[in-house]
């Protein structure tokens, strides 16, 4: 059998067109064709274009957000008055666990990664995410993990030990049945997906930047996603280890968390919060990235304090790993240790404040353009500062002990997460929607959407501070009328419904605008980063000629200031093969052109591999041996995924230049 391609085959496979000429040229048409996903059903499951996968990813995470929101509304309805009979304690336990789990694992982190998968390649001026097939695999694994959790919920096997599944409650003695096992395996799915996405984003940001985009010129949003991705690498393994140990305790009789056999329940809390606290910043730092993208555009000036902003992001990431014990102040840890974590918790306010002052300086000295995205950003300031203040209060051990496990904590975490991540995210949707779809969202509906969400949010969550201080514990399915908490709970429920109406209006606005919105053009807001140089929506290859970058805001300043250089500086790249998926790889720090990498074509293997992974993970809930036999199809599919075709090799050999 002849496997190596012949000379003739290699000559026949030689590429014919090289890029460089702009839109409209035969080369540009070839590029569009080269980078498109295939049509048809198989083509749909084989798609790997980063924009296709990212939009599906965003829609999937938003559907989970909707599901988590409905669960939240059900909880609020149950709590609207004392002694309510809408649901019993068992259902309520499942509902609040599913709500927290959905929002943390199926919405907050993945939605940020999904947006990054769309925007990072555009912002750094390239045609694809690094590892597009792996990216598709991560998406499918995520979807299947989420669906498994909800399938279990619908057959009354919904997780019910809280989104952080503390042992001993979540252990084999107090949670028999399969509920917690589904929760633990959901962790395996979503964290696998998140880790893969993190690696994809890191490689894209470090190696695929346009020539001239030194690290010092990388957009702040890309910096935020890069820092987030690095945090994921070091935080997510903790929860995977913890949940694997939990499921082994439950299924094969290990004793990690069993004190009777030398195990320790606090081990769970340490491992979980070593992940769980950085998790908060995994959600929050992308939000900071959105804000740093939106503010310069709507203040119509470059960002003030770029270097300070980047250093603050990095400092936040480091400090985030030194805070986990502040979730454990109510345990019997040494008091000196707690003091250290109090200090670290307060210290993280410094880089956050630095960024807030830089944004304020940018806004103060800019000419403001009050559009919906900016409104969401301004709301961030208001809500996050309140959430940050209660955070500082909670960092003090004595107060923490007083309000531990009360609604004060619920109020605090929602102010931080919704203010720090969800409001910027909605602002980001309004900001980039024209780029995603080519159409503007309605400003009028946008304002209604904003005010309903802003008012609804505060009415829903502000009273919880007071309820918490009055002693209302969290995770209770009801309370007595004599407690006097009924009125404020009713107000809170009313606020939650207003908030839900705001989100609904967003959905209506998005759907309407997708079909009937005003045409956007390439750069409707006058933004300065490279995604605004691409068409809206971008062509399959993003850029028909890759840009060469000479400043931090390449759309505002395509060439260095001063008299034109002689000879003229390059503005774009030429010479990449247009009928192959060839991309320019640049050096990490200076973004000098280095290597031409040929990217793979669309393939069904990532989807097939995700299906095989799903069989492995789900079956292992029922039999530990699935870990062994389930590996066989995964290994076979990965091998087929890797193994090159002769024609593919011929094409590569025709282009090959040795280093």
């Amino acid at each position: 059998m002849k496997r190596q391609p012949s000379e003739q085959e290699i000559r026949d496979a030689a590429p014919r067109l090289r890029d460089g000429p702009g839109p409209g040229s035969p080369e540009a048409r070839a590029l569009d064709e080269t980078w498109s996903d295939a049509p048809g059903l198989i083509g749909w499951f084989s798609a790997i274009n980063h924009k296709t996968i990212a939009l599906r990813f965003v829609v999937a995470t938003m559907l989970f957000f909707g599901a988590g929101g409905i669960l939240a509304a059900l909880m609020r309805l149950q709590l609207a008055r004392p002694g309510n009979k809408l649901m019993g304690p068992d259902m309520y336990n499942q509902v609040f666990t599913m709500h927290g789990t959905t929002m943390m694992f199926l919405f907050a982190v993945p939605v940020m990664q999904a947006v990054a998968v769309y925007l990072v390649p555009l912002m750094v001026g390239t045609r694809s995410i690094a590892f597009p097939r792996l990216n598709a695999y991560a998406f499918w694994v995520f979807v299947f993990g989420g669906l498994m959790l909800y399938a279990a919920f619908f057959v009354n096997a919904g997780a019910d030990a809280g989104w952080f599944s503390y042992v001993p409650l979540a252990g084999p003695d107090f949670s028999p049945g399969k509920r917690v096992d589904f929760w633990a395996q959901m962790i395996t799915y979503t964290e696998l997906s998140a880790i893969v996405e993190a690696i994809v984003v890191i490689t894209t940001a470090l190696k695929l930047r346009a020539p001239g985009m030194t690290l010092n010129r990388m957009p702040l949003f890309v910096w935020a996603m890069l820092v987030t991705a690095f945090m994921i690498l070091f935080a997510m393994p903790a929860v995977m280890l913890a949940s694997t140990a939990l499921i082994m305790d439950r299924l094969v009789g290990t004793h990690f968390y069993n004190p009777a056999e030398g195990g320790d329940a606090l081990l769970w809390q340490h491992l979980f919060w070593f992940f769980g606290h950085p998790e908060v910043y995994l959600i929050f730092i992308p939000g900071l990235g959105f804000i740093s993208a939106i503010i310069p555009t709507f203040a119509r000036r470059p960002m003030f304090g770029y270097t300070a902003m980047v250093l603050s992001l990095i400092a936040t990431a480091f400090l985030a790993f030194g805070l986990w014990v502040h979730h454990m102040f109510a345990t019997n840890l040494p008091e000196l240790g707690k003091s250290f974590f109090t200090a670290a918790s307060m210290m993280i306010a410094i880089p956050t404040a630095t960024q807030i002052f830089c944004w304020l300086a940018t806004l103060w000295t800019g000419r403001l353009n009050f559009k919906t995205p900016l409104l969401f950003v301004l709301a961030f300031f208001f809500i996050l500062v309140l959430g940050g203040l209660t955070g500082i209060i909670l960092a003090a051990v004595p107060i923490n002990l007083q309000v531990h496990d009360s609604y004060f904590v619920v109020a605090h975490l929602h102010y931080v997460l919704i203010g720090g991540a969800v409001f910027p995210l909605f602002g980001a949707f309004y900001y980039w929607f024209p780029k995603f779809t080519g159409r503007m969202m309605s400003e009028r509906l946008g304002r209604w959407n904003f005010w309903l969400m802003f008012v609804g949010f505060n009415v829903a969550f502000f009273p919880m501070h007071l309820l918490g201080m009055q002693g209302m514990p969290r995770r209770v399915y009801t309370y007595q009328a004599e407690s006097g908490w009924g009125q404020m709970n009713f107000v809170s429920t009313a606020g939650a419904l207003v908030l839900a109406a705001g989100v609904l209006l967003f959905v209506i606005n998005a759907l309407r605008s997708w079909h009937a919105g005003a045409a956007a053009g390439n750069d409707p807001w006058g933004g300065g980063t490279l995604e605004w140089a691409a068409s809206s929506p971008p062509a399959p290859c993003n850029f028909h000629a890759l840009p060469v970058v000479h400043s931090r805001d390449p759309v505002w300043q395509p060439l260095p200031s001063g008299p034109p250089a002689q000879p003229p500086l390059p503005t774009h790249v030429m010479g990449l093969t247009a009928d192959e998926r060839q991309l320019l790889v640049t050096t990490v720090v200076d973004a000098r052109p280095d290597v031409l990498h040929t990217f793979p074509r669309p393939s069904i293997w990532p989807f097939a591999c995700a299906v095989a992974t799903t069989v492995l993970f789900t079956a292992s809930i029922f039999t530990a041996w699935a870990v062994v036999w389930g590996m066989v199809p995964v290994a076979i599919i990965l091998t087929l995924w890797f193994w090159p075709h002769r024609h593919e090799t011929a094409r590569h050999l025709a282009m090959e230049r040795k280093p």
Binding site: N258, L267, L569, V595, W643
Partner: protein, 204 residues
């Protein structure tokens, strides 16, 4: 000359190489990312070991520490595999396919050897995963590392097969180089785990 050149207002990159070794390759960065993740898992598992130990009055909780023989032999075999691994890497970077084949095959033979010895290691732990928390963490540490041995052995085997029968291109030499990079990690990560499993249970 393989460098980008300015032509008018365009930067011509058509003469750049189509692959490169080490940090020039994007796959190298992905491998480094996986190494960061897996090293974190190992570090946390080791931290768990010492956390559990700090709560115990005797350690091991019951019974005796693992027997040293097989674990120590395996450590030497793994360290020995670094030589053919290094030679395979160098051969690949010099674009010498036949040498890369040879040393990859030697690596695989040693891989097979340490997988077999690993079975004896499990048998000499002197505890079960369901005996007590000590047994659980020791089995988990050894199990985690074994998963790495198995997966690394398998993907090295696939790559070696490709070197012998597959349609080859220059970029597969880059794959050999990165495969060797990962092998270094699998061996290097064993050393702290070896010390913890076999020696931390002996120190008091």
């Amino acid at each position: 000359m393989t460098a980008a050149r300015v032509r008018g207002t365009a930067l011509d990159v058509s003469s750049l190489p189509t692959y490169g070794f080490s940090h020039r390759s994007i796959v190298w960065w992905a491998t480094l990312g996986m190494i960061a993740v897996e090293a974190t898992v190992f570090a946390l598992a080791i931290a768990t070991y010492f956390y559990l130990r700090s709560h115990a009055t005797t350690w091991p909780l019951a019974g005796k520490p693992p027997d040293l023989l097989w674990g120590t032999i395996n450590t030497l075999v793994m360290l020995g595999s670094l030589l053919p691994n290094h030679l395979a890497k160098k051969a690949a970077e010099k674009d010498n396919v036949s040498r890369a084949r040879l040393w990859m095959a030697v690596c695989l033979a040693m891989g097979l050897l340490f997988l077999v010895i690993r079975i004896f290691e499990f048998r000499s732990l002197n505890t079960g995963w369901d005996t007590d928390a000590y047994g659980s963490i020791v089995w988990t540490l050894l199990g985690l590392h074994t998963v790495h041995l198995v997966t690394d052995f398998y993907d090295s085997a696939v790559l070696t097969l490709l070197l012998f029968i597959g349609p080859l291109e220059g970029r597969h030499m880059q794959d050999v180089s990165e495969n060797a990079f990962y092998w270094y990690f699998v061996v290097a990560s064993w050393l702290p785990i070896y010390l913890v499993i076999y020696w931390a249970a002996r120190l008091h």
